[in-house]
């Protein structure tokens, strides 16, 4: 099999390159690792988990051979716990807080969480039951992690929940946005299925504002949960963005998760603009689609980039080249309208701007051209401002304003969570945070609509 350099990337069977890269623990490894957990009291890993999974408890259950109990412990606290086992930046969360960092090696909590949830997936477990119907209805707009989490909890409380999902399948970023080799679609599908099994109706291919109006939702449902996430990558604002071969990173990754892996990048030169999580995903996807050369250009330095350290390492292993302090200023095409070059300028870091990062400033006379066959834009995501305004909600630049306690918007019957309320400078936009917010919304709605406490089944 022809492989590229040291990458181990197949050029003949591109599909192979998109299979999950990390094998996970085998039963023996899981047993040894779970027995190594100290079973701390008041464990710091629990506090470090945004969803507060009782980590020592689920690990002890792996050690005792109670895998159903273990998966239930995980999924009970985090309705997308199987995805989070794979995509959470665990070094910065649970594993970073493990007390064994101070003596030996932290427990590989993410891998153990994956072991338990993989067991549940493989054994087709249904872990929860819907609550006794209380006659109230909630519409969830957007079936990503935040929406699924809210829906799951509400269904357990006894609400009749309908999820409105614009895409073909629910799951949001877990289904379409996180690269397959880190998060296979089946995992996200199982989580969606767990929610559906609680009698939650998921109306896919249904765009709120187009296929169903805001007023209809407001009339038919007691509460509305807005978990629409963010949109595609915004325009760079430079010449040549409409040329053939210029891609949106979100769309680019999504295509690798829907349908066959296409061969158009085989042997080509690709530049990814930006150095966040999505930029890394796009760059590694390009490499795995067989591109001969993949460069990331970023106007700041490694220090300021928002990608995680493990993502940076992963991209380097896929031979992605990082070009710091480099700003694209023009995309150049040939006379057929195809992209051929990316014109860039070198940058310097100046004073810190409002989010504390040093502002890049162009270096005079430093322009240069990079030969490219494709340019992938990954400089953040746009906001669904029209939709938010359609609901008549207060927002700031497309970020819905909410009460930080209840996640209630300016309309008391509408709650919002996930990326749609994620503003700059608020830390990390993580799947696990969205999941937690979904739970909080469910609790807040339950408090608002049904103040008598209900036991969770």
């Amino acid at each position: 099999m022809t492989t590229l350099k040291s990458k181990g990337i197949s050029l003949e069977n591109l599909k192979l390159n998109f299979e999950e890269v990390h094998d996970g623990l085998n039963a023996q490894e899981a047993m040894e690792e779970s027995n190594r957990c100290l079973y701390c009291y008041d464990a710091p890993c629990i506090k470090a988990c945004p969803t507060g999974i009782d980590i020592p408890k689920f690990i002890k259950k792996i050690a005792s051979g109670n895998l159903k109990g273990s998966a239930t412990t995980i999924m009970s606290a985090n309705p997308v716990g199987a995805s989070c086992a794979r995509v959470c930046p665990t070094e910065e969360l649970c594993e970073g807080a493990c007390v064994l960092n101070h003596s030996t090696e932290p427990i590989v909590i993410g891998d153990l969480q994956r072991f338990a949830t993989d067991w549940a997936i493989k054994n087709e477990q249904i872990l929860f039951k819907p609550g006794e119907k209380n006659g109230r209805k909630v519409a969830v707009v957007g079936g990503g992690p935040a929406g699924l989490s809210a829906a799951r909890e509400l269904a357990r409380f006894g609400y009749e929940v309908t999820i409105f999902e614009a895409a073909e399948e629910a799951g949001g970023l877990d289904t379409y946005g996180i690269v397959s080799f880190r998060l296979p679609q089946d995992i996200s599908r199982w989580e969606v299925d767990q929610v559906e099994k609680l009698d939650v109706e998921i109306r896919t291919n249904t765009r709120v504002g187009t296929d169903v109006t805001f007023d209809e939702l407001a009339e038919q449902y007691d509460s509305i949960v807005l978990t629409i996430g963010m949109g595609n990558v915004p325009m760079l604002g430079i010449e040549g963005e409409n040329l053939e071969g210029v891609h949106d990173a979100i769309e680019f990754v999504k295509r690798t998760k829907s349908g066959a892996i296409t061969k158009e990048l085989l042997g080509k030169n690709v530049v990814v603009v930006g150095a966040g999580n999505t930029a890394i995903d796009a760059a590694t996807c390009a490499a795995r689609k067989g591109a001969a050369d993949v460069k990331i250009v970023y106007r700041r330095t490694a220090k300021e980039m928002t990608a995680y350290e493990f993502e940076y390492d992963f991209a380097k292993q896929d031979d992605v080249e990082f070009n710091w302090l480099t700003q694209p200023i023009e995309i150049i095409g040939d006379n057929t309208g195809k992209v051929t070059q990316l014109k860039c300028v070198k940058m310097d870091l100046g004073e810190a701007d409002e989010d504390g990062r040093r502002r890049p400033v162009p270096v005079e006379n430093s322009e240069f051209n990079i030969e490219v066959d494709a340019v992938i834009k990954a400089i953040g995501q746009s906001r669904y401002t029209d939709l938010i305004e359609g609901f008549g909600l207060d927002h700031e630049g497309g970020v819905v304003k909410v009460d930080p306690e209840t996640l209630q918007t300016s309309n008391p019957n509408v709650y919002a969570a996930g990326d749609v309320i994620f503003a700059k400078g608020q830390g990390e936009a993580m799947v696990v945070t969205a999941a937690q917010q979904g739970k909080e919304i469910a609790m807040a709605i339950h408090k608002q609509l049904d103040p008598t406490p209900t036991a969770i089944i």
């Binding site: 047993m31 027995n35 100290l38 008041d42 464990a43 007390v99 003596s103």
Partner: protein
């Protein structure tokens, strides 16, 4: 280089590590491999009338992912003809004249049977005899093994029969399946035993398969009790050795065994009165090569302590072992938590809070860091916190000077007795 050579009641071996009578000493091939690996002696798998064994014989008890914390077997004594064993003993002894070969023996409790087998094995040149009054399974149902070992009179009588003809030292191997092992040990001494060895295995059922509900192990769906040994039995064995060692009328050497897995346990057994140790489970778990570290570790230990001969260890801790009534009631220790070493798992807190004396507080220091602190006035010095602590050096048990003079329970009771029988009313 310390002198590791051993002399147990006249049986000499180059080091104190013997293989116990068990599957590892079943044949000449195995014993010769063991001697090549460095074992000092071997007690040949028990000789007697060849028996029939069952298939599926061993089971282990694991703990927290570790394979062999305890070990259980239902195998009987040798299943090979006596002549074959005798021939192999002869050959092995010839090849390894400086290593100890002890013949373990088990026959029906008659004088004639004992005389007959003793003569046969001494003829092929064994260095000593070990009378198996310990095996708890199978043979005991036929009146041998522990069935003999549980009756002091039978122990004494059979030992005496052996001594009538034996020319080599006689070790009596005792069963722990008895309320007080010193009774049978004393009976062996009365019968003329030159040494005792202990412990044989403990009656056990290793487990039940929670899916099939069969016993572990099982033979075609049926189980029977076996004999338990391995690391988990060490405390039981060590106590029995110590009780015999401090007993005034059990004044013969003791060969110690039960959970010896490394040189460390060997040192413990010898300090508590054993003259050398016997090993089985550790060898079955890892092979004969483990003896290399046993010897090396023991030698380094002795060198470090400035002890010339391993024999000098024997019994050094015996006088420190006594009855509860002789312990000082006024001695006090308390836990001290070293927060610079502590990793804040809080296991000590919850262990104390839920199951002991509620004296470890979870607090914040001046910088707001989590710390744990012992309220010394409430600490009873139970050790639990330091036992559950996963980090070396995070919890010390330190002496708490309370200014009270030593006073044991026995002294206290004697003093109360003296006061109450006093003619003068002291209270007035």
């Amino acid at each position: 280089m310390a002198d590791l050579s051993l002399n147990l009641a006249g049986i000499k071996s180059p080091n104190p590590f013997w293989l116990a009578s068990a599957p590892p000493t079943n044949s000449g091939y195995q014993v010769q491999r063991a001697f090549e690996a460095g074992w000092g002696g071997a007690v040949w798998k028990t000789l007697g009338e060849p028996i029939l064994n069952v298939s599926s014989r061993f089971a282990a008890v694991g703990f927290n992912g570790q394979n062999v914390a305890g070990f259980n077997n239902i195998e009987l004594i040798t299943d090979r003809p006596l002549e074959v064993n005798l021939k192999e003993i002869y050959e092995t002894k010839k090849k390894f004249p400086n290593h100890a070969i002890i013949a373990s023996l088990m026959v029906e409790p008659t004088q004639e049977k004992w005389h007959e087998i003793v003569k046969k094995v001494e003829d092929v040149g064994v260095d000593g005899l070990e009378l198996n009054f310990g095996c708890p399974h199978g043979m005991a149902e036929r009146g041998m093994g522990s069935a003999s070992g549980q009756v002091p009179e039978l122990v004494e009588k059979q030992t005496a029969w052996v001594k009538e003809v034996a020319e080599t030292p006689v070790i009596v191997k005792l069963t722990p399946n008895i309320t007080d092992i010193t009774f049978t040990a004393e009976a062996a001494v009365k019968g003329g035993a030159d040494a005792v060895s202990m412990i044989n295995t403990i009656n056990s059922l290793a487990g039940v398969d929670i899916d099939t509900w069969d016993t572990i192990p099982n033979v075609a769906g049926k189980g029977a009790h076996g004999g338990y040994c391995g690391p988990a039995v060490k405390p039981i064995a060590l106590n029995m050795v110590a009780e015999c060692a401090r007993h005034p009328r059990i004044n013969v050497p003791i060969s110690g065994m039960g959970g010896v897995s490394s040189w460390r346990e060997a040192v413990e057994f010898m300090l508590m009165g054993a003259t050398g140790v016997q090993v089985c489970t550790a060898a079955m778990h890892h092979g004969f090569s483990i003896v290399e570290d046993m010897k090396d570790g023991l030698n380094n230990y002795l060198d470090e302590k400035g002890i010339n001969s391993v024999m000098d260890l024997v019994g050094q801790s015996v006088e420190k072992y006594s009855d509860w009534g002789n312990l000082d009631l006024n001695h006090q220790i308390v836990a001290k938590i070293n927060n610079d070493v502590c990793i804040n798992c809080n296991k000590c807190h919850i262990a104390c809070e839920d199951t002991s004396h509620q004296c470890i507080d979870m607090l914040k220091d001046e910088q707001g860091n989590d710390i744990l602190k012992v309220r010394e006035e409430d600490c009873v010095g139970c050790n639990l916190c330091s036992i559950v602590c996963p980090v070396d050096g995070a919890i010390d048990m330190v002496e708490y000077a309370n200014g009270k003079p030593p006073m044991t329970w026995n002294e206290r009771q004697a003093a109360i007795g003296a006061v109450s029988s006093c003619d003068v009313d002291l209270i007035k």
